[in-house]
Symmetry: C2
Subunit: 149 residues, 2 copies
DNA sequence: TATTGTTATACTCTATAACTATA
DNA sequence: TATAGTTATAGAGTATAACAATA
């Protein structure tokens, strides 16, 4: 068990300053990570592939999740089908619906994009000390909590 | 002076896992922060206002900084002038150039957008313990280092 | 009649190419 | 002639409205 270090609660001013610092750092990291893989696959295509990796879905479901209109999502999914990353199949129980699934090619491109993104992060970690890395590891759980719904 | 806690250097596998965790948390936080203020001012307009807050610049300079074409930047800056957030002035020493500056209205909208963004972060911090906040404060400097250059 | 998918049309932001004015 | 700004035009992604097929 780690020895509890006594901490002084942060003042309101310190919290405002902290929120600004964390926000800026996250936005800058996010921008640079995206920049690393935008050439491979545009952001909105990537986002939809991630949703289809979880489970096959219909066009309407994807439109709801990504908060775009059905026609816009139709454009996106058509492009993904065209690229061979997504396949279409009629729903056997409801003739109106079309089920969209990730193809093996789609899985491959997801792995490739993630590898590029993580490689950039890893390269940034090289400039850190062991203590800084350990600090980030403990902070990761807190950041996940901040990011969570 | 804080007592140095002995740390074990993270393994390669732990670093890969960490890079994924930090990347995901930053991207999710970034997405939600942007969502908080997109209705106030589209991202590309906000970004240009921030550049003009630093110092007045020409259209070409802004296009270079933001990595968009000169005609695209022209559209953006024209919209900002139309909104009253940016003013145009002829360069007295070079008749070809037009200097763009932030107006008082532009400064006000920047303050408003930042307040919205930070308010979201602050609301998220309410769910944290004092220890978690203190941890984030120390991690902020490391995250800034990761995001830098 | 309600719902899913699709097509038609338009608006925004992006780009490249061409034109104007000044150095 | 070179450079800054601008205008013309086109492409990609978004939207709303209308239409087709199925429940």
């Amino acid at each position: 068990m780690r020895t509890k270090t006594p901490t002084t609660p942060l003042s309101r001013a310190e919290l405002v300053s902290l929120s600004n610092d964390i926000r800026l750092a996250c936005m800058r990291i996010s921008r640079r990570v995206r920049f690393e893989s935008d050439r491979e696959l545009p952001p909105h295509l990537y986002s939809v592939l991630v949703r289809l990796e979880e489970t096959p879905r219909t066009n309407s479901e994807l439109a709801d999740i990504e908060r775009v209109s059905a026609p816009s999502m139709k454009r996106t999914t058509s492009a993904l089908v065209e690229l061979g990353y997504v396949s279409r199949a009629d729903d056997p129980t409801d003739g109106r619906q079309v089920i969209l699934s990730l193809t093996p090619e789609g899985q491959k491109v997801l792995r490739r994009v993630r590898r590029h993104r993580d490689e950039w992060m890893l390269s940034r970690f090289e400039h850190l000390t062991d203590e800084e890395r350990e600090l980030l590891q403990r902070a990761a759980a807190v950041l996940a909590k901040v990011a969570s719904k």
